[in-house]
């Protein structure tokens, strides 16, 4: 019945149920910060934010009480690296994919934010499985720079962007080498040249900002800003990047925008760390990092956080020869900050697999010789860690006080495949869990011939 009501609400185009004070009581509560779950905990959401979670949390008068006894309560899952919202159908469906632009002239300047479509069926399918946010990156096409990615939410509304142009994404492994003309050496040179071109514009913007009011932000946040594209912006003659692309790299160079670097092979990882030493202001995050365990101490020493594939264990390419499911556990043990992402792994639609992957890392604890992670750490790697590695840990990813009210009630342990998300809140707003899939399921519950064809059943 509840399902029918929510479906009706969706059909009428009404907004999801309004935010209020919600107290979820009696559940097994996982804070998402790496700690063990708390039996019989309370979670209070007020004005769209977490007011408190744990034991002995006061319940404000007038709260809507949600009885979660026998259930599990966690922060919403965050897609650690994805292309969610950029593709409705990946193959042979003209017009439905927006993750890359092989026919366009731009690279680093590309901003995925306008392309994220909150009405994509991939959003509703993943929301129904407890995914509430996702890091969304563009894919590379003609340059090693893919462009600027965003943090999005999966709410059933028209405003998916949590933080636009939050990071730049660059390929510096096998894929980067191919795009750079065929070699890693070329990719690194293109990278250094791109930062040189950005520096040229950066110097100009610094001069410009010194004449501006002190309160004016010297950072180029939007590549369309006239400071880097106007008639007075100087460039040398030997440039490879379009002006927009060079301008987009200014905030990367200034350390005001994160730089996500995709590398898998140990040697590529070390070369990326070396770049960080050369450009110390870069706010680098390594993505993929299949062979990370072989150089885990050096990643840890660099302080660079990682978004890793969780269960890669095949030498599916020569840059992943040392692949093992123990990679994350070993990096974690060496002191690397690690989040789980869906790097090149059906990243447009199966973000719901992250909880399965996290569970698999826990399973390694029972395999002799393997290195797993604790349940709490595994949960953190799909909730708070993806937020923390891109500097959003104070806003998202855990049930800590003041975080956005992204909460999921599960029928059981969320890292078990038998469990389902039963209630989902994003920014404190209760979300519908229907999708095309649930409607198809309901239509075909019976195959008996009715008075009218199936097309009339809904």
């Amino acid at each position: 019945m509840k399902r029918l009501l929510l479906a009706a609400a969706l059909l009428c185009g009404s907004a999801p149920l309004a935010a209020q004070t919600i107290a979820i009581t009696g559940g097994t509560v996982a804070l998402g910060d790496g700690s063990d779950p708390i039996v019989g905990g309370t979670v209070v959401i007020q004005n769209g934010k977490i007011m408190g979670a744990g034991v002995g949390i006061p319940i404000p008068r007038g709260s809507e009480i949600v009885d979660a006894r026998g259930k599990w309560v966690t922060p919403g899952i965050i897609g650690g690296f994805s292309r969610l919202g950029l593709s409705e159908v990946d193959l042979s469906a003209d017009g439905t994919t927006d993750d890359r632009a092989p026919g366009g002239p731009f690279s680093a300047a590309i901003d995925v934010a306008p392309a994220v479509n909150p009405m994509n069926s991939t959003i509703s399918v993943n929301r129904a499985d407890g995914v509430t946010r996702a890091i969304v990156a563009p894919s590379t096409a003609r340059s090693i720079f893919a462009g600027q990615g965003a943090m999005i939410d999966l709410g059933a509304d028209r405003d998916p962007i949590t933080s636009a142009r939050h990071f730049q994404f660059v390929e510096l492994g096998e894929s980067g080498a191919a795009t750079a003309g065929g070699s890693r050496a070329s990719a690194h040179l293109l990278f250094r040249n791109a930062l040189r071109e950005a520096a040229e514009l950066g110097r100009y913007t610094q001069r410009a900002s010194s004449r501006a009011a002190p309160s004016e932000d010297p950072v180029v946040r939007d590549p369309n800003e006239s400071r880097t594209t106007g008639p007075n912006a100087q460039r040398s003659d030997d440039v490879l990047l379009t002006r927009f692309d060079a301008a987009a790299l200014v905030p990367v160079l200034q350390g005001r925008q994160y730089l996500l670097v995709h590398v898998e092979q140990a040697n590529d990882i070390l070369q990326a760390i070396a770049l960080k030493r050369f450009y110390p202001q870069l706010k680098m995050v390594l993505v993929g990092v299949t062979e990370g365990w072989t150089v885990a101490d050096r990643i840890a020493a660099s302080g660079i956080p990682v978004i890793a594939s969780a269960v890669n264990d095949l030498p599916s390419s020569f840059e992943q020869l040392a692949a093992t499911q123990s990679n994350i556990g070993r990096m974690r043990a060496a002191g690397v900050k690690v989040a789980i992402g869906m790097i090149d792994d059906n990243d447009s639609r199966y973000i719901f697999n992250q909880r399965q992957y996290a569970g698999n890392l826990v399973a390694l604890g029972k395999v002799p010789g393997a290195t797993g992670v604790s349940w709490g750490e595994a949960m953190a790697m799909i909730t708070s860690k993806p937020a923390e590695v891109i500097g959003m840990g104070a806003r998202l990813g855990s049930l800590g006080r003041g975080r956005q009210g992204d909460v999921v009630i599960w029928s059981g342990d969320p890292l078990e495949m038998a469990s389902e998300a039963q209630m989902v809140w994003i920014d404190g707003v209760r979300q519908p869990l229907e999708s095309r899939q649930t409607k198809l399921r309901d239509r075909y519950q019976t195959l008996e011939r009715n008075a009218l064809p199936e097309a009339y059943r809904r």
Binding site: S316, T324, E416, T438, Y444
Partner: protein, 463 residues
């Protein structure tokens, strides 16, 4: 049948002309063509007589024994039973407390070996995409036995047998091959002895996409027309050879493509039909009737739930993913309840991988389908759902008389899991194939390492 009374073609060619020249009026007797020219050389490794006690058993045909015992020796299951089952003299005893034992998982749809790791161009051997109809190719001639993926399927996935199929670029993709998941130097060394061949067919998007700009077909109706025209030729070929096999005379010309299709028309080769959409499955069913063959299994079958009644009536299996959807138009209507809806309709449901990673977690994929089904009111037991992973795939491959369940006499292909195999937290503890222990999580020496991985970073690591 196969492997007996075989005369080589070369031998036939050597004495036929002479024979014809000497006695022109008399019809030469028919010569049997060797239908197994690349025979299995697999033979089981030795294993000690073993009893696993105090273990939860899913027998693969829906049965469960709590606190049970299973005995195997000489490569075969001897008995399953409760705690009172006698310990055979000299048997190794394994305590299965807190653990589960199941038949080994059988994957009906894998590309290990023909799309191996690493996935370089030089290793890409799964699609003979040089013509829309290529029934003459055999996947076993592409299978690289050193694909590291086989060991992951064994150690992480508990997969003991698998069918390697050609890809789906072609309407007729070629023959598949069923392998024992035991490392060998050659694909023949892995071949499941006596398993029937499969023929891969494909509907829908892939053939028309690949050939739309290469001479066609470029539409679904073109796919069907070319497929039917090919079957017409096969029928003619079959008639010619039936006549020759009966009464001899001049040997008709041999055609490798037609040999395979004739094997299908004669019921010896099983059809494995890549098909996503319900409407296309219905067309392929009519096509099978038009030309007189049987479809064993629709693969991927993401819309089987829309025609599950038809599939039950026709006795056709569906090999499915738990939750794949939307990656192309013909998978757009994929739903998470596909497997339980097919099962509930009384049709044969199989969990398949088509993926070198997914094959390591088929038990978890089945767990998803089981849970989604229960939420929909399809209340089946864990032990029942194991049929989707062993017995039903064995049936689809024509080897259910030898594997797929723990019935006495069957091959001792079994997995001891370190917990309930439908839990994310569970992994294989030990895996036996034909009674030989091929994986032991506690023993690094019992972990296969392919030639490719020797001398590479991570050699012999837990994977």
């Amino acid at each position: 049948m196969r492997g007996s009374a075989i005369v080589g073609v070369a031998v036939a060619a050597a004495f036929l002309p002479a024979c014809v020249a000497k006695t022109p009026p008399a019809k030469a007797p028919p010569i049997r063509i060797n239908d197994d020219p690349y025979p299995s050389t697999y033979s089981r490794y030795s294993g000690a007589p073993t009893i696993i006690r105090n273990v939860t058993i899913f027998d693969g045909e829906g049965g469960q024994i709590d606190n049970g015992s299973v005995v195997f020796a000489d490569g075969a299951i001897v008995a399953t039973g409760d705690a009172s089952l006698a310990v055979p003299a000299g048997a190794i005893t394994i305590d299965g407390t807190g653990k589960f034992v199941t038949p080994g998982i059988i994957d009906v749809h894998s590309h290990l070996g023909d799309y191996p790791s690493p996935g370089t161009e030089g290793n890409s051997d799964g699609n003979e995409a040089t013509g829309a109809s290529r029934p003459e190719v055999w996947a076993e001639h592409s299978v690289w036995p050193q694909d590291p993926g086989f060991s992951r399927a064994l150690a992480n996935g508990g997969v003991t047998a698998l069918q390697i199929l050609p890809g789906s670029a072609n309407l007729f993709g070629g023959r598949g091959v069923v392998l024992k998941n035991v490392p060998a130097r050659t694909s023949q060394g892995m071949k499941f002895p006596g398993a029937p061949y499969g023929l891969k067919m494909a509907c829908g998007e892939n053939p028309k996409r690949v050939y739309g700009n290469k001479g066609g077909p470029g539409t679904r109706m073109g796919n069907v027309a070319v497929t039917r025209a090919t079957w017409l030729k096969a029928q003619e070929y079959d008639r010619k050879w039936d006549k020759y096999d009966k009464s001899g005379g001049d040997m008709p010309g041999r055609d490798l493509a037609m040999d395979t299709l004739r094997g299908v028309l004669d019921g010896k080769i099983f059809i494995h039909n890549h098909c996503y959409r319900a409407d296309e499955m219905a067309i392929m069913i009519d096509m099978a009737k038009e030309f007189g063959y049987k479809i064993s299994t629709f693969h991927h079958a993401v819309e089987s739930y829309k025609v599950a009644d038809l599939l039950a009536r026709e006795g056709i299996c569906s090999a499915m993913w738990a939750d794949w959807y939307g990656f192309k138009m013909e998978s757009y209507d994929g739903i998470k309840e596909n497997i339980p809806l097919v099962d509930r309709a009384g049709a044969c449901a199989i969990v398949h991988s088509d993926d070198a990673n997914g094959i390591q977690r088929l038990n978890q994929e089945a767990a998803k389908a089981l849970a989604d089904g229960r939420r929909m009111g399809h209340n089946v037991t864990d032990a029942y759902a194991w049929k989707w992973l062993s017995y039903n795939p064995a049936k689809a491959l024509g080897i259910a008389d030898r594997v797929g369940s723990l019935k006495p006499g069957k091959m001792a292909d079994l997995v001891l899991w370190n917990g309930n195999p439908f839990s994310t937290y569970t992994r294989p503890d030990k895996v036996w194939i034909d009674g030989a222990m091929m994986y032991d999580s506690a023993n690094p020496r019992l972990r296969p390492v392919s030639d490719f991985e020797l001398g590479q970073p991570g050699e012999g690591d837990v994977k």
